[in-house]
Assembly symmetry: D2
C-alpha cells in the first residue's frame, strides 16, 4: 500500500465528535469570555457543528449535555434537529455537578436522597440516549472532597460501584458507558475517580459494556499518557478520548497546540494496535476544549486538522523497520522511526484527500470566507441574554 | 524569656488581614457554591470581618477589591464603615481582568488604549488607597497567553515595566506596592508574572517601594516556598503573603489544611530573620482563600487559629541548639529542632493568651453559639439576587 | 478504651521491617556518600538492625537483597545469623536491574534469553525465601524505556504477565508476592509498572497471593497517596509499604521529614479500615530510605519514632465524631477530627509505652550513648575496600 | 532573502559545544551502563568530539571537566591535544561536589575551610581556562540540604555571593561566568541555586561578566522555559544553554526527543530577539546529556541534527505575519505562524546546506559506515579498568 493510500484510508475511517458545549461561551473561575457569535440554543450548536463538518467532512456527530441541551431532561426534537443538518446525536453527557445539592457529591454523597437523585438523572440520560439513538453514555463526575477527613473514601467508592452498576443494568445492549477520570478540580483534596486505574476498576465492576474515557488533559504532570492508552488497549478497556491539550492542569487548550508529538504518540499506539488486530476498535474520538480566546468554530476546525495531521503521520510510521530496530535493541533507529514519521510534511497528502472528498483544501480559510460567523453573531447577539451560569 | 512569654509577644504582634471577597459566594469554573449567609455588600463583608476579629482579636483590617467593593471606582464611605466596626481598610486590590476588554491582557495588551485604561484603573486604586488611608496597593495580574506565538513575551514585559513604574510614581510616600506572581490560570500557556523572580525583577524596576507578594498557592509542584521566602527576605524584597493551601494547583484551601509543616517552616524563616535583625519587618499577612464548602466565617476563624498555632510553634524553635547542630553538621539534630517545635502542643499557651486578651478560648464555638450566621442568613437571603458574576 | 490503652495496643502490634541496604553506603548518580560505620557484610547489616531493634523494640525483621546479601544467590547461613541476633529474615528482594544484560529490560526484555535469566533469578529468590523462612517476595523492576518507540509497550506488558504468573505459581502457599510501582527512574520515558493501577492489574493477573506494594516516594507530584491506599484496601490488594518521604521525586528521605501530615493520613486510612473490619490486615510495613547525610542507624531510629508517633496520633482520631460530622456534612468539624489528633502531643504516651516494654525512653540518645557507632566504624573502616558499585 | 538562504546563514552561525563527559560511561544511582567504546581519557573524548565534528561540521569546541579531564587540576597539554584534532577547549567546568568533604556543601558549607577549598578549586579552574584559551567558566553547584533545618538558607546565600564575587574578580576580562540552576538532585530538600531567579540574582551580585546558564532539563514540571529564556534575553542575562530533554526530572535525554516543539519555541525566542537587535548575542549552545542506552557518538550526532532542524524551522517563522496577527489579536493565526514553521520539512534544505559545506548528507549513516566505533571499542576495551566513580 502506498503512503497516500494508507493515509487516505485512515482519514476516511476517522470521525471526530464535537461537543455542543464547545460552541457556547466558556471561561475560568475568574470570568466568562463572551463571543458575539457564541451559540445559545441547541439549534445554534448544531448549526456550528454542521459548519465544521461542512469544511472538514469528519464531524458527523455531536456530544450533548443533558442539562444544557435538553429542556426538562427530555430528548425532545434533538435527533430530528441533528438529522436536518446531516448530523447525529453522539454521546450523552449527564450533569450531576451543577446543582447546589451536589456540593458534597452526587452518587458519592453521604445523603442517600441525593445519591438517589443523581442516579435518577443518570437513568434519565440513558433514556434520552435511547430516544435519540445514541449508543454512548459519557460519565464525568466532579465528586470528591476538599479537606482531609471530609469524606469516607472507601464508602464513597462503594457508592460509586452501586450507582454505576445500576445505570449499566439499565442501558440497552447497544449502549456503552464511558467512565472518565480526572486527578483534581473542582475537588481539591481527593477526587473519587482520580486516575485511569480507578476508572478501570469502577468500569469493570459496573459491567461488560463500561469502558474508560481518556481525557488527554486529565493527568498529573509527568504521566505518560500513551502508556496508559496502550495498557487500556491491551485490557480491552479503552472506550474513547476527550482530546485537548494543556501546559499545566486541565487547561482545555486546542489538542496538539502545546505538545503535538505526544498526540502523535497516542495515535500511534492505536494505529499499531489496529495493525496487529483483525477487528477495528470502536474508540470514540471526542473533543473537549474551552476556546476562551479563539473563535470557537475556527478552533474546532484547527483541532480537526491537528488530529488528522497527527493520525496521518502515525499511519506513516515504518512499523517493520521499527520492529526490527526493537528486536536489535537499536534505540536510536527505533526512535527515528517515530521521529521521522512525525517530521513528515503530510500537508500535500491531506490536501489531496480533501480534494478527493470534495472538501475545501484550506478548511479555515473556506470557513472564514463563508461569512458564517458574521451571520451567526448578528443573529445571536440579538438574542443574547445576560444570563450567567457555568459550563464544563 | 519563657516559652509562654515568647509565644504571647509573638501573638500580640501578629495581625492577619482578611479579604472582603472571602465572605462572598465563590466557586470554580464549574459553578458557584451558594451559601445563605454569604455577604453581598461591603457592609456585609465588614460585618463578617468584625465577627472574626471579635473572637480572634487579630484581624483589624480588611483587604478590599476595587471593582467589587466600590461603586464607580470611588472610595465612598468605606473607611467610615470600617471604622464604625473597629476595623480599617487594608490593601487595595485593583481588578484589571474581569472586563471583557482585558481578554488579551491589561497592562500587557497589544492595544495601547487598553493598556491606558488598565493603568487608569490602577491609578484610581492608588487614589482610593489615599482616601481610605491604606498604605498597600496589592497587584495581581491575570495577563498572559494561551497559545505559543500569541504574544510577544519580551514586549509584554516592557509594557509591564512601564505601567508599574508609572503607578509607583503616583503612589504617596507611605504606600507600598505588592507585586504578586502566579505560574498559570487563568492564562494557560504563559503568565507574564509567572514566578517570584519575575515579580522581583518587575518590582525592582518599578521603584523602591515595590515588593513581592507571595501567595502560598501560586507555585509549581515541588517548589520550595520557604526557600523563596528566605531569598526574598535577604534581598529586602518580601512584602507580604496571601495565605492558603493546596494539593494540586491554586486550590485556595484553608492554609495549613493540607501541609501544616510547610506553613510552619515558612513562618520559621521569618521568625529566624526577625531574631537576627534589630528592626521588625513590615510584612503584610493576608488571607486569600475560597471557602466553597466550609461556612466562610468559621473557615476564616480556623485559618487564624492555624496561623497562630504555627507561628507559636515557630517561635518555640530552639534557635541556639539549631545553630549548634548546623555548626556541627548534625543533620539529625538540626532537623529535630524544627520537628520538635512543630510537634509541641501549643493549645494551652494560646488559650492562656486568649484569656489574657479577653478573647473566647474556643473562637469557633463562641462564634457558632453567637447565632451570627443564622441572623446573617436570614437578613441576606432576603436581599439575594440571582446575579451571576465571577470572583477572584 | 482509654487513649493510652488504644495507643499502647496499636504500638504493640506495629512491626517495621528494616532494609539491609539501608545500612550500607548509598548516594546519587553524582557520587556515593561514605560513612565510616556503614555496613559491609550481611552480618554488619544484621548487627545494625539489631541495634535499632534494641532501642525501639519494633524491628524484628530485615528485608534482604538477593544480589547484595547472598553469595552466589544462595541463602547460606542468613537465617541463622538473623536468629542469633533475635531477628528474622523478612522480605526477599531480587535484583534484575544491576547486571549489564538488563540494560534494555529484564522480564520485559525483547531478548527471550534475558527474560529467561531474569525469571530464573526470581525463582531462585523464591527458593531463598523458602529456605530462610520468609513469606514475602518483594518485586521492584527497573524495566522501562528511555525513548519513544524503543519498546513495544503492550508486548512488554504481556511478558510481565507471563513472568509474574510463573513466579507466582512457584511460590509456596504461605508466600505473598508484592508488586511495586514507580513512575520513573531509572527509566525516563516509560516504566513498565508505572503506577498502582498497573501494579494491581499485574498482581491480579499473577495470582491470588500477589498484592501491591506502595512505596510512598513513588508517586507523581500531586497524587493523593492515602486515596490510593484506601482504594487498594477496599480491593483487598494492599500488600505493604516502603516508607520514605520526598519533596520532588523518589528522594528516599526519612519518612515524615517533609510532610508528616500525609504519613498520618495514610496511617489513619488503615486504622479506620481495621476498626471497621473484624480481621486484622497482614500489611507489611517496610522502610526504604537512603540516608546519605544522616548517620544510618540514627536515621532508622528516627524513622521508627516517626511512624510510631504518627500511628499513635492516627489511633487517637475520634472516629465517632468524625462519622457524625461526615453525616452532617460538617466539613470543618470532620477536618478538625483529623487535625486535632495530628496536633496531639503523643510523646508522654509513647514514653510510657516504652517504659512498660523495658525500652529506653529516648532511643536515639540511648543509641548515641551506647558507643555502638564508634565501635562499628573502627571495626568496619579497617575492612573497607574501595569498591564502587551501586545500590537501590 | 529566500528560505534556503535564511536557513543556510543560520546554520553557518550555529556552533554546538559537546561535553567531554558525554562520551564516558554514565548511569543512574542504580548503576552505570557500560559501553565498549566509551571514552576513558581526554584523548579518547577529543577523538569522539572530532568524529562528531567531522560529520556535522558544527562542533568545534569541547566542554571540559576539571576533575575528570585534568590531572592534578593542571591544564597540561589539553589545548594542544584539541588543536591537533581541529578542535578547541570550550567551557571549563569545575567540580566541587564529588569529594566527600563537600557532602554538606561546597561554597555554602558551614565550615569555612571547606568553603575556602571549594573557592580554591574555582580559582584553579579560572587559571586552567586562561591557560587553555577558554573564555567560559561554567558553574554548577550541587549545594543544598536534604532536611528542613539542616542549613541556614540566607547565610548560605551570602556565602554564595561572596564566593562568586571572588571568582568573578579573578577572571580575565575576556572570560564569562555562567551560573547554572537546578531545582533538586542531588540535594532533595533545598538547592541553593534552585531556579533562574536565584541564578540571575547571584550572577548580578558576582559582577558584570556573570550570566545565567539554562539547562533545559533543570525545571519543575509545568515551567515555561521559553518564557524564562525571553525574560533573561531582555535582562541581558542569558549566557548559554545545556541542551537535553526530559519527561519527568533531570533525565538528560537527547534534546527534542520528548518534546521537540518546546525546543523549537526556545530557539524561536532567540531568533526573534536576534532579528530585532543589531548585534548578535554571544550565547553558548552546549549539550549536557547522559546517553546510557544509545551509542554515545550516534546520540550526539542525532542531537546536533535535532538542534539544526529546530533552528531551521525557527528561522522559517514568518515574523511579519506573526506580528500582524498579534497586532490584530488573531490568536489562531499567530499560533499557526509557529505551528506551520514547525511542521515544515526542512530536510531538503539542511541536506543542501551539508552538500555545500562538503559534509555527508546523512551524518549518522556516514559515521556508522566509517567503522569508527568498532575501532574505538577494540582499542579502549583493552585499556578499560574496572574503576567505578561517578559522573555529572
Amino acid at each position: 500500500m502506498t503512503d497516500i493510500t494508507t493515509v487516505s484510508d485512515g482519514l476516511d475511517r476517522l470521525e471526530i465528535e464535537l461537543p455542543s458545549w464547545g460552541f457556547a461561551d466558556t471561561g475560568t473561575r475568574f470570568g466568562k469570555y463572551l463571543q458575539d457569535s457564541a451559540a445559545i440554543t441547541l439549534e445554534d450548536k448544531l448549526d456550528d457543528v454542521a459548519e465544521v463538518h461542512r469544511v472538514t467532512g469528519c464531524c458527523p456527530s455531536v456530544a450533548v449535555h443533558v442539562l444544557w441541551d435538553f429542556e426538562n431532561g427530555k430528548a425532545g426534537p434533538a435527533a430530528a434537529l441533528a438529522r436536518d443538518r446531516g448530523l447525529r446525536i453522539g454521546s450523552i453527557n449527564p450533569n450531576v455537578f451543577q446543582d447546589q445539592c451536589y456540593r458534597l457529591g452526587s452518587v458519592a454523597n453521604a445523603d442517600s436522597e441525593i445519591r438517589r437523585r443523581a442516579i435518577g438523572h443518570l437513568l434519565d440520560s440513558v433514556e434520552i440516549g435511547r430516544e435519540v439513538g445514541s449508543d454512548l453514555l459519557s460519565l464525568w463526575f466532579a465528586d470528591g472532597t476538599n479537606y482531609p477527613g471530609q469524606g469516607h473514601l472507601r464508602r464513597r467508592k462503594r457508592w460509586f460501584e452501586e450507582a454505576l452498576r445500576e445505570v449499566h443494568d439499565a442501558m440497552p445492549e447497544s449502549m456503552t458507558m464511558l467512565v472518565e477520570y480526572k486527578p483534581f478540580e473542582p475537588a481539591f483534596y481527593h477526587t473519587d475517580i482520580a486516575d485511569w486505574g480507578m476508572a478501570m476498576s469502577l468500569a469493570r465492576s459496573a459491567g461488560p459494556r463500561a469502558k474508560v474515557l481518556v481525557d488527554t488533559g486529565h493527568h498529573l504532570q509527568g504521566q505518560n499518557i500513551e502508556h496508559i492508552v496502550a495498557f487500556l488497549l491491551d485490557e480491552g478497556m479503552l472506550g474513547g478520548f476527550h482530546f485537548n491539550d494543556r501546559h499545566y492542569a486541565d487547561d482545555d487548550l486546542t489538542v496538539g497546540s502545546i505538545d503535538p508529538y505526544r498526540l502523535f504518540r497516542i495515535l500511534f499506539e492505536i494505529v499499531q494496535y489496529e495493525r496487529e488486530c483483525t477487528r477495528p476498535l470502536p474508540i470514540a474520538y471526542m473533543i473537549d476544549q474551552s476556546h476562551n480566546l479563539k473563535p470557537k468554530i475556527e478552533a474546532m476546525i484547527q483541532t480537526v486538522e491537528m488530529v488528522q495531521g497527527m493520525l496521518a503521520r502515525a499511519l506513516l510510521v515504518d512499523v517493520e523497520a521499527l520492529e526490527a530496530a526493537r528486536r536489535d535493541g537499536d534505540v536510536v533507529d527505533a526512535e527515528r522511526c517515530l521521529a521521522d514519521a512525525f517530521a513528515t510534511d503530510v500537508g500535500p497528502m491531506i490536501r489531496e484527500w480533501r480534494r478527493g472528498r470534495g472538501l475545501p483544501e484550506d478548511p479555515i480559510r473556506n470557513h472564514r470566507e463563508s461569512g458564517y460567523v458574521a451571520r451567526a453573531a448578528s443573529d445571536r447577539l440579538a438574542r443574547k441574554s445576560s444570563s450567567g451560569g457555568s459550563y464544563a
